[in-house]
Symmetry: D2
Subunit: 247 residues, 4 copies
């Protein structure tokens, strides 16, 4: 890796700007908490943030072209994300940009577009404790975290989670109510690596949890392909046999 | 299975109506050839056809609601398929309707929408022989066909085929030029089972080939879930712990 | 399927013959309970049982050759199963016989031999309730059972379960203690289909639970290939190009 | 990675010591050619070789304990590898040692033991050209090699290759005769990462091919986990609920 890792932390930033309790929990926004956590764990990385209210949601062609990994947090404003920006992000993912989709981002346009399913699930905002168990102990995303990660208070996300069978299932969570959830899943779309990680909520300080932040840092490294020229797969006509001998 | 299997064979039906050579090869259209082949191999099944030029492309809500498995062939007119119909088909697939995507259907709106990738590939319309090798010999879709299936003349479809890693890789093809292709792949989206099968072209009589038709009949049976009520996964709030005890 | 489905239910049958409480719970042995449950749910099937203390553990060449699906329950006597019989069973699985490995069978010689891993796990024999959640709702093994299946009392089996990534993950269980387990997994080895299902213990009446028995019946149907000649894959020299044209 | 990568290149070394033509092709043995190729591409790595005729085949407990990745080439002498050494290698793989199984190593005791299948295939030692196509373009093992890699002369290895469905399918090969082969496959067993790569034969100078050596170097890096303490998964009894709170 010859250049610094470039990360863009995206957040809709609505709860933080409209609910004092959330603002108190995340004084610099969920994006600020994630960016700080990544900066601490990825020394040398260039980390910027972007939010919904910015022009083009802060995700211009230039920003994405200079982003190795994009993290995505959204909840109440999925439908305010413009289709044009979603399409641009999709193109960049297919071209090799890494994407981390977080928690309620399961219902974002970009995630459902890339996965082709409804991404629906069961949920309860109660008094649950979440335990995050590693089921792929050799996966680099699970490196350095205990199994289980104990999250004292969390929103319950339960099966059935309507996703395609993931390429790799890294984590399974359980909740006090007995529900389970495939909470850490990898997918590939085109040249891009995608990781979905469900722990994290505006109501709880999950993005201050050191093991959660470690997973996000691991996943950022895993999803990054800084040496790959950004280009989605394309169709090729090969009229001549043995065309590959000149390659 | 208490009711007859209900199959709808869809075709854009453009080559057959504009090119005499194709019309001669497929006098009842590619859809007619496929429908005949399925009828012969799926006794008792109700098989209908639908084409692009019909109102709503012949794929009304009523037709889809009465379809266990839809087969899809398109090539030059993908962009003439209305987004509304694509969205309707996607909903039905997620709700449990089986979908067989054939050959140049790899670039159809419905396939790229469900897969989330570009579905691009390499191709050459030359003098290739295609060999279709079974790599999942216990899969019901491969039942009763030799490995390889020999197709004397075919368009070459080669890697890289930009699809997500399939749930199951059933067939791999090679071509005279040495190219290879993941030619038989299964996917699941929501409650629906999807099979992509690449052999088949308007320029060659591939849809008269008995082993190709056998694969399509096998795949139709595999993808059908006639006893499942048609409903896509949905979100559920579960406010009460132990909510499942009443189920 | 032109012949009746032939099932052999194997059990080490040690707890039942040495512990009165287990004998009271399973008067005809765990094998008897499973055989009865399958017989009720698979009308027309020929179901026999076999146990450790029989000559060749009841698994002669003749018995296996006449078995479409073998179910395996063992616990304290894994090391009393002869290597010769294990080898014979392995050959039949690779040749197309279905295999259902149940509960503590995770540590059997046949399972570890076929999987290539230690198959170790976490466990606690306490007061746990097990919930069995479906994560592959279109899989035939999950047909007709609620999600979750509620098992009031069960031994806890938890991650990390040291198995290869399964072909298909059908069920995930949680326990009162918060542990999770990949409790329903499919694998393929050679021509044989394998299903591991963890619910079931000598200390609890799990094999009288109707939904557990339904899963076993579904899995039996899924694993059976009665029309396949019993033969493991073998090496072939193909000295002549185009050897397949005569096939 | 705080210590140098430690690689042991194992070879049965029989062809080279009994057939002058092979000795001429590989003057330092196939192991020598592989070791040189890795040394050039993995600067700083400690690369040693070991062969069948050495005491304990050169694979003592001490050697394996000091090996991050073991590469395995064997062909005519699989049955001369002692079961004790195979068992030792298996334990180390399950404990986290990487394993690269090469070409005719498909039939080695260590590979069939870890995979649980016969690993049989089709073959022809003729005049075939092999083309190695990348089907997982984002996989680190495929980094920096063209698709296809062109190998002018090679033994044909064809489907059906009797392996479990691989975790990841990285390469598919085709041959002049039209056969195809899943030539680059990853598997996980316990804590160990395994890569099978079929190109390579004693009759052809394949281990002097720069792209083949690049794949082996990539795979070595991918399989290595130098910071993981060598330990296979083990069973744990967890008698107390919330045992994980002290972790």
């Amino acid at each position: 890796m010859t250049v610094p890792l470039r990360v863009t932390v995206w957040n809709e930033n609505v709860h933080e700007t409209t609910e004092p309790a959330v603002a108190a929990r995340y004084p610099e926004g969920i994006h600020g908490a994630i960016a700080d956590g990544l900066a601490e764990r990825l020394p040398g990385a260039e980390i910027r943030t972007a939010t919904l209210e910015q022009p083009e949601h802060g995700l211009t062609e230039e920003v994405l072209a200079a982003t190795d990994v994009l993290t995505w947090w959204g909840h109440v404003a999925h439908d305010r994300v413009s289709d044009e920006v979603v399409d641009r992000v999709r193109r960049h993912v297919q071209g090799g940009m890494g994407l981390l989709v977080l928690h309620s981002g399961h219902y974002s346009k970009i995630f459902t577009t890339l996965l082709g399913t409804t991404c629906s699930l069961d949920w309860r905002n109660g008094e649950d404790r979440e335990l995050v168990w590693t089921v792929a102990p050799t996966h680099p995303i699970a490196e350095g975290v205990p199994s289980p990660i104990v999250i004292p208070q969390q929103e319950m996300y339960g099966e059935h989670f309507d996703i395609p069978a993931p390429d790799e299932l890294v984590f399974i969570s359980s909740f006090s109510g007995g529900e389970v959830f495939r909470s850490g899943c990898t997918f590939t779309r085109g040249h891009g690596r995608i990781f979905y990680f469900s722990p994290g909520d505006q109501e709880f300080p999950v993005y201050h949890h050191p093991h959660v932040l470690r997973v996000l840092a691991n996943a950022t490294r895993w999803a990054a392909q800084p040496d790959r020229p950004r280009a989605a797969p394309t169709i090729h006509q090969r009229p001549e046999p043995d065309w590959f001998l000149d390659d």
